[in-house]
């Protein structure tokens, strides 16, 4: 099944005249190299953190994630595909 199925997780609010799920307000990012950790003296791998600011009803909430490069590229690729789909209708 390829459709979005997790209905229990969708929190739908009636705001104004439309039913909405969480709206993305902003996205921030941080990128760099981790040089070492308490468990591994020398690492040298990249870190990539995203913060999504989302509006839930009257308040905003931050969602944090830390991605590997493949995860980031997958996210980027899917957003480009979604945009291409939207472009068909606008």
């Amino acid at each position: 099944e390829n459709t979005i199925i997790h209905y229990p997780v969708l929190s739908r609010l009636a705001v104004g005249q439309t039913l909405m799920v969480n709206q993305l307000v902003d996205m921030e990012w941080k990128f760099g190299v981790t040089v070492g950790t308490s468990e591994l003296q020398k690492t040298g791998n990249i870190f990539l953190q995203l913060k999504l600011v989302i509006r839930k009803g009257n308040k905003t909430e931050n969602v944090y994630m830390e991605l590997t490069l493949p995860q980031f590229y997958n996210f980027l690729h899917e957003m480009e595909r979604a945009k291409a789909s939207m472009d068909c209708f606008s």
Binding site: I4, L24, E66, Q71, F72, N74, A82, S85
Partner: protein, 191 residues
């Protein structure tokens, strides 16, 4: 014969310690290891052996030792007087174990250094609202994106976040990602 047995037990002990420390296996307890491998030892004797092996493994993993470093390290350990050193059998077992597990342990440590959940998966769909029970609709497309977030080693438990993007927001995200991409390129291509 006794040596081979003893090495096998040490290897199994190292495996058990690694399962807990690095591979997220919560079922392998000290008690389990003692009963399986060193039933005839006293509790104190086993604890001393277990802690010593664990400490050595952590040192080796933390430095991500290569062959040469490991040899030098283990040689120094065998030369230690009293109970704090290792026997040649233990050293051999450690050497063989590290050779087999080094890559996987390092990957596990790198994954553990990411403290926020990662993006396990995502799905999206684009809706075109043509009508609604109340009021007008803009007739422009809306993207619904479902992000599946979760940490490594947490098995099945994922958090799902569902977000709505209008065209403007999709463009905003793509623009930010392009900036991020530039940043990545500048670091990745430099080395």
């Amino acid at each position: 014969m006794a040596d081979a047995d003893s090495q096998r037990c040490v290897s199994a002990l190292l495996n058990g310690i690694t399962q807990t420390l690095y591979y997220g296996n919560t079922e392998i307890t000290e008690e389990f290891l003692k009963n399986e491998l060193y039933a005839e030892m006293t509790q104190d004797e086993f604890r001393a052996l277990h802690d010593k092996m664990r400490s050595l493994l952590k040192s080796i993993a933390s430095a991500d030792m290569d062959q040469a470093q490991l040899e030098a390290f283990l040689t120094a350990q065998t030369r230690k007087q009293g109970g704090s050193g290792v026997t040649p059998e233990q050293a051999a077992a450690l050497a063989r174990f590290w050779k087999a597990h080094r890559t996987r342990v390092r990957e596990s440590l790198l994954a553990q250094s990411r403290w926020e959940p990662g993006l396990r998966g995502l799905k999206w769909r684009v809706d075109l609202h043509t009508s609604a029970s109340r009021g007008q609709v803009s007739n422009s497309p809306v993207a619904l994106v479902e992000l599946e977030l979760g940490r490594p080693g947490e098995g099945e438990s994922s958090e799902f976040v569902c977000l709505e993007f209008d065209e403007q927001k999709v463009n905003l995200v793509l623009k930010k990602m392009a900036e991020l991409q530039e940043s990545i390129d500048s670091v990745v291509h430099r080395s």
